[in-house]
């Protein structure tokens, strides 16, 4: 095909470490992302001990920390709790899910699904991975700073964040690397999709996953620059004595604070949420794309309303830029502003309803196979529905007065990102694992992983709504300090047990992942009888992806076409 495709022997380092092959970079992203997800989850399991048994020493590991300042006697201090909370949020969002969903799945699948030999800018692609890597290392190193890592939540609201210890500076520097990485990566995905589609692959013949990645990349490109600027401003406020976000006349710990003054802390919130709301869709859209591919494949029929879904996702992407201030109803917003943001928030629920409706109608008239990827993909649907529905009372400013900053919010967005997005990502891993490794994953271990995770994860997040109704604030180190919180303390124990069960269930996945690599059943090129282009390459795909240049003759989901011998027509039938 191109000279790109010719092989010259590359050393181990060039092939597996500093590779510029999109597939290797995709795998690097995915593995790094999974490791961070696991780490972020471990932080949460420790926090869940404190929440279930406030003030009691941690089991097993308490003795390691006996003399540390952060865990005197093995009991978690508020500082440490806040650090873990902030790092859990940051790591899960910026180091776990986005790298896995956009970096991992996007990198690996987009060129394959559009019939391209690689990304448009392979070296930029490597640069974006390494920028992510550095950002991640900076975040991890912040655990060793005096005073520990950032403690002001993943939202880093000033003035708290500006007064916080050195960890916050590391957080900001890490974020600048992560944002840069996302910008480079998403520009690459956009250009690749626009420029490198195979002959015959018009926009409306693209698999839905490619559309989802396309819109996601636009969200990243357009929303991240304001946050990058804001992060630099906050860094300046911390180290250079500026006061973009610091008002005059602060008195901290009884002492007047010397700052230039005249800034406004709410400015940060606008800049932050202008990114962070689209970021929610950055988390969810690739997941939705994955689920769509798997559902079309396993119902053995074309997607219902493919074009409607594409328009919905475009509209969703656009709307996600004008809802940000629904996170800020409690900052003193007037009626006009609040009416605007309540309205746009209700409007954004419409494309979400359409998307999920199309997916469920796709089931109608199908011949549904319940394999592992499909089980995770199906579980995504009700979980995402719960997450989406519980967003409505939060989007109405009036009911938000009560629910804002309670555990109801934590329950709401975790339903979207944990049993929602994470399940979709697991679905994707089970689905494409054979393509990437040439081996199938073990079914029994997979089913154990699925069923235990499904029950446990609901056991964690469902009680959060109860806590929210009871009025328990989020980010509380001692959850039963208030009278209204004591009434629901029992749920904390239940949630924590569920969280540890969930953690244990992941062992099935980890074992399966490595065991199958060695001993899994060999996979054919197209084990799921799928139609999209990535299955038309050898397994695993070689450098340069395709043996001959692919030409596309039909839409992405030609399943069960009447009068054909097989119930699917792959893109390349030669």
């Amino acid at each position: 095909m191109s000279e790109h495709n010719e092989h010259h022997e590359l050393g181990f380092i060039r092939t597996y470490v500093f590779s510029i092959d999109h597939k290797v970079i995709g795998i690097q992203y995915a593995i790094t992302g999974l490791l961070f997800l696991f780490f972020g989850f471990c932080l949460m399991m420790l926090m869940r001990w404190q929440l279930a048994y406030p003030g009691e020493a941690l089991p097993l590991i308490a003795s390691w920390f006996e003399n540390s300042q952060m865990m005197p006697g093995g009991v978690m201090s508020p500082d440490l709790y806040n650090s873990f909370g902030a790092m859990h949020g940051t790591i899960m969002v910026f180091l776990g899910v986005v790298p896995l969903a956009v970096g991992g799945f996007g990198n690996y699948l987009v060129p394959l699904q559009i019939g391209a030999p690689d990304m448009a800018f392979p070296k930029l692609n490597a640069a974006s991975y390494w920028s992510y890597f550095v950002g991640g290392v900076v975040m991890l190193c912040s655990f060793f700073l005096p005073g520990g890592p950032a403690q002001s939540g993943w939202t880093s609201y000033p003035p708290l964040s500006i007064l916080a210890s050195t960890g916050q500076t590391a957080w900001l520097i890490g974020m600048v690397f992560l944002i840069t990485s996302s910008l480079l990566g998403s520009i690459n995905i956009i250009v690749t999709i626009v420029q490198l589609r195979a002959k015959g692959l018009s926009f409306f013949r693209m698999p839905f996953l490619v559309w989802a990645q396309f819109v996601t990349s636009f969200l990243l490109v357009l929303a991240f620059p304001p946050l990058e600027a804001a992060a630099v401003f906050q860094l300046m406020d911390r180290v250079a004595g500026t006061s973009f976000f610091m008002p005059s006349g602060l008195v901290v710990g009884g002492m007047p604070l010397q700052v230039a003054g005249g800034g406004n802390p709410v400015l940060w919130q606008h800049l932050f949420w202008f990114l962070a709301h689209p970021e929610v869709y950055v988390l969810i859209l690739p997941a939705l794309g994955i689920v769509t591919e798997i559902i079309a494949n396993n119902t053995r029929k074309p997607l219902y309303g493919y074009k409607t879904m594409v328009y919905s996702v475009l509209f969703l992407g656009f709307m996600s830029f004008i809802v940000w201030a629904h996170h800020m109803f409690m900052t003193g917003m007037g009626t006009t502003m609040s009416n605007f943001f309540q309205t746009t928030t209700m409007i954004i629920s419409i494309p979400s309803v359409i998307l999920i409706t199309c997916l469920i109608i796709t089931l109608w008239g199908g011949s549904i196979r319940f394999n592992l990827p499909m089980m995770f993909a199906l579980a995504f649907l009700p979980m995402f529905a719960i997450g989406g529905l519980t967003g409505l009372p939060l989007g109405l400013a009036t009911s938000d007065i009560y629910l804002h900053d309670t555990y109801y919010v934590i329950g709401h967005f975790h339903y979207v990102v944990a049993p929602g997005t994470l399940f979709a990502l697991f679905a994707g891993i089970y689905y494409w694992y054979p393509k990437v490794t040439g081996r199938m994953m073990n079914n029994l271990l997979g089913k154990l992983h699925f069923w235990i995770s499904f029950l446990a994860i609901n056991g964690i997040f469902m009680p959060m709504f109860i806590q929210g109704f009871a009025g328990v604030s989020r980010r509380l180190h001692t959850p039963n300090f208030y009278a209204h919180a004591q009434a629901v303390q029992g749920t904390n124990v239940f949630m924590s047990i569920s969280a540890w069960v969930l953690g244990a269930a992941q062992l099935f996945f980890i074992i399966n992942f490595f065991l199958s690599l060695k001993a899994g059943k060999r996979a054919s090129d197209n084990p799921w009888d799928a139609t999209t282009l990535e299955w038309a390459t050898p397994t695993p795909p070689p450098h340069g992806n395709f043996l001959q240049e692919p030409v596309v003759h039909r839409g992405p989901y030609e399943y069960s076409v009447p009068g054909k011998a097989t119930d699917y027509i792959p893109q390349q039938v030669s």
Partner: protein, 254 residues
């Protein structure tokens, strides 16, 4: 103090004049959400069972278009529009703009700090004294300028919020250091206290009793314990409490 028994697994009792609409929206929305989810879920399970792969069953390439989903979606939109325009807009306007006249209300300032709530009463003259951050000290936590004649009769408490029942309260909310959020669950009151900003909020209580103030915004390592106490008094109790506080002001000279 508080009897924990008034709290449970649903919203705490509402003792405010304005909270009914908040509770109503929360309830209506949840009934709607549960109905939608259950209907959706039944359809989902039905599809999974009826269209499972089995011998002799084939997928259909095309399925007939049904108008039902469209009608359902339009129904959902109309319902959301109603909640939004019919309930949420007016309730929010009432809460945020329809302030009662200052003369008919109990006027206070609330100055949040790490980790407590300073309540500032204007005293007999009804005028708040000047404050200045430079004057803040351990005994003068809000930096009241005692040279200002208006400040002489001002009363401040740490975390003791008293006000009479059945009379609106207007509270000017601010913070000395970081962002906090005033949250009084039983009053359905929540608002951020932001340094550099001074935001008025108001409420009215319909029942007397003793309750807690919580902080809803992460504000540092004492966030959890940033508790305050609310006492909703009868007018007599309130007057008595005020008189006592005023007495405390007097024997200052030594």
């Amino acid at each position: 103090m508080d009897s924990p028994s008034i709290y449970g697994w649903w919203l705490p009792p509402d003792v405010s004049a304005h909270g009914a609409i908040i509770d109503q929206i929360i309830l209506i929305m949840h009934v709607f959400m549960v109905a939608l989810f259950v209907g959706w879920g039944l359809f989902f399970v039905y599809c999974l069972v009826r269209f499972r792969q089995r011998p002799g069953h084939k997928a259909r390439h095309e399925i007939p278009h049904s108008k039902l989903p469209k009608f359902l979606e339009i129904g959902v939109v109309i319902f959301e529009a109603f909640i939004l325009v019919g309930l949420s807009y007016p309730a929010w306007s009432k809460l945020r703009t329809a302030f009662p006249p200052r003369e008919s209300a109990t006027n206070i300032r609330i100055v949040a700090q790490q980790f407590g709530w300073n309540i500032h009463y204007p005293g007999k003259d009804g005028v708040f004294g000047r404050t200045d951050p430079k004057l803040v000290s351990d005994s003068n936590t809000i930096g009241l300028d005692l040279n200002d004649p208006n400040a002489k009769d001002d009363i401040t408490t740490l975390g003791q919020l008293h006000f009479p029942v059945d009379k609106p309260v207007i509270a000017n909310l601010t913070s000395k250091d970081v962002i906090h959020s005033l949250f009084i669950p039983v009053l359905r009151v929540k608002h951020d206290a932001i340094p550099g900003m001074n935001v008025p909020i108001w409420w009215e209580a319909k029942q007397t009793g003793q309750f807690e103030i919580a902080c809803a915004q992460l504000c540092g390592n004492g966030h959890t314990t940033m508790r305050g106490f609310v006492s909703i008094d009868t007018p007599e109790e309130y007057a008595a409490w005020m008189a006592e506080k005023e007495k405390e002001l007097e024997p200052a000279p030594q």
